[in-house]
């Protein structure tokens, strides 16, 4: 069809007509493509059954029906409502009983907070008569209106610091790895294979898993988090750096080799200027990624906001969990904006 149109369009005397008729432009898709599509669809169907995709669509349909009023109950909608209800309102203030604060000094209160009296109603069972009795007592508390928000912010800052340190260490760690695992600069085959192996290994171990073991070695806290993230991202950076070194334009490198410059000097003056913008982009991406991952690895006790999240989740304090989630979202969003600005300036 297309060929026919082209012929009409380009109907010029200089082009002999019969030679055009012997041309053949095959259709873009053939039996082979159809077969591939059928096989792929069959595989997806089998896999979909195993991974309960059918059930997912069933539940989603039910939820949609519930929304428009076709049926009375939907597992998904009910569950979602429960989650939202337990999360709202999100936790902003913080109340701490004074008797629980060590060395309490009423003149040195935290920011925005005040001392308050709070009535606490307790229901107790009398052990002798087995009757329920209600007693009301008053206790002194420190009420701080944005206390929990401040606490979460502090934890978020710690998380960002973990991410920055991890990124810094991963950059330092991946420079030698990149040198040894780039085929054109490695001193010998053994070093090359070894370095490539290390880079793959570092990348293969998820940070959540390595953090679990590092927590055993270094104890709960940020150290395990920093190391887990640094090792994993060094696996990425080492690979990215090495590939860029291998693909760098050969000309400037040969120019310096002809002068007699050593490998390190060639890397510094011929390769580095070429790959630097790309490296900055990689580092920004790794930092961004480390902030997100640092919030997660806290769950296994490796410091940061994740540790707080896990604790609150386990105590069913979903209001607190909601505050943390909002904070993580805001941080990642802000970081994304900043990273975009920096990248556009550097490249």
């Amino acid at each position: 069809m297309t060929l026919h149109n082209t012929q009409n369009f380009g109907n010029q005397q200089t082009v002999p007509n019969d030679s055009n008729h012997s041309w053949h432009l095959p259709p873009p898709y053939g039996a082979k493509t159809v077969l591939v599509i059928i096989v792929a669809a069959a595989l997806l169907l089998i896999s979909g059954k195993k991974t309960e995709i059918d059930k997912m669509f069933l539940l989603l349909g039910e939820a949609a029906g519930n929304v428009v009023g076709l049926n009375d109950s939907s597992q998904v909608i009910d569950g979602g409502k429960k989650v939202v209800n337990s999360m709202l309102p999100i936790q902003i203030f913080e109340v701490t009983e004074i008797s629980r604060i060590e060395n309490f000094d009423p003149d040195d209160l935290p920011m925005f907070s005040r001392i308050d009296n709070e009535e606490v109603t307790k229901t107790v069972v009398d052990p002798t008569t087995l009757e329920l009795s209600t007693t009301t007592t008053t206790r002194s508390v420190v009420y701080s209106p944005v206390g929990y928000l401040l606490h979460v912010s502090k934890k978020m800052l710690e998380t960002i610091e973990i991410a920055i340190w991890a990124t810094l260490f991963s950059i330092i760690l991946s420079i030698p790895l990149a040198y040894y695992s780039s085929a054109n600069y490695t001193p010998n085959k053994v070093a090359y294979t070894l370095a490539r192996g290390v880079v793959s290994l570092l990348r293969a171990i998820p940070e959540l898993i390595s953090a679990m073991f590092l927590v055993l070695a270094f104890g709960f806290g940020p150290i395990a988090g920093i190391l887990a993230l640094a090792f994993h991202s060094a696996g990425f950076l080492g690979k990215f750096y090495a590939e860029d070194i291998e693909n760098a334009n050969k000309g400037p490198q040969e120019a310096l080799r002809a002068i007699g410059a050593s490998k390190a000097k060639i890397l510094r003056y011929s390769v580095l200027p070429q790959v630097l913008p790309q490296y900055v982009a990689y580092n920004m991406y790794i930092l961004d990624r480390n902030v997100r991952m640092a919030t997660v690895i806290g769950i296994v006790g490796a410091g940061g906001i994740g540790q707080e999240l896990k604790g609150r989740y386990d105590m069913f304090e979903y209001g607190h969990v909601a505050t943390i989630l909002v904070m993580i979202f805001l941080t990642v969003f802000t970081l994304d904006q900043i990273a975009g600005k920096i990248r556009s300036k550097l490249i």
Binding site: G251, P252, A255, A258, I259, K265, P273, Q274
Partner: protein, 269 residues
Amino acid sequence: MISFDNVQKSYPNGAAVLDGVSLTVPKGQFCVLLGHSGAGKSTILRLVNGLVEPTAGCVSVDGSKVTSKTLQAVRRKVATIHQELNLSNRSSVATNVMTGALVDVSLIRALVGWFPVPIRQKCCEVVSLVGLNAEHLNRRVSTLSGGQQQRVGIARSLMLDPMVILADEPIASLDPSASRDVLSHLRSIAHRNGCTVLCCLHQVEMAKEFADRIVGIEGGKVVFDLVPDQIDDQALKLIYKNYDDPNGQVVVRESAIEHVAKTLHGHAA
């Protein structure tokens, strides 16, 4: 001074590139190599700074033979100017020029980019020598014109006061006026500093205008070795016959230059 003594070069796959080249280029001479692509011109240059090793015969620079032992010493005396300029486009002119003296800078200084004072002075000297201004020093190479960039390449090659300058089609990416500019700089450096300049070109007219001596290379052999005035169609036929011509027939009716121009044009298109 460079001398080639019956140099042969063939690659492991059996392709012979040079087949007994003997040539001596004295001090202070601007010598141009002419020949079609693949004739072996670049290989001749690469033999001098040891990027290629000869299969047989020997190459010597300033009386010392080029071997893996003397390579470091030889490369100090030999500077190269490249067809694709081979500069770091994102670095400044000064940084690019100073990399010409990298062998004289300690590793630590080189890595942090803190070049010693004598090298920085030399950099200013050679940059002014090739006709660039002080304001060019801190500009990125990518902001310069092609001709200016090639001058940066020449300045870089002058950093170590070389005895030999090898130029592999230094004007291939330049317009005619920038080409003349670059070639006249090379010639004046040869005459004034007493450098031996060995230069591959495709531009016959340019070669005739600027060279002290023109050597024709064909099939890995020296087929003529003349002063520019002696170059005529007869000589050019020796190097450009068979070019792009599967039957191996010389086109007699056309002048060699027309033939070259046509084939080159056809090749480029």
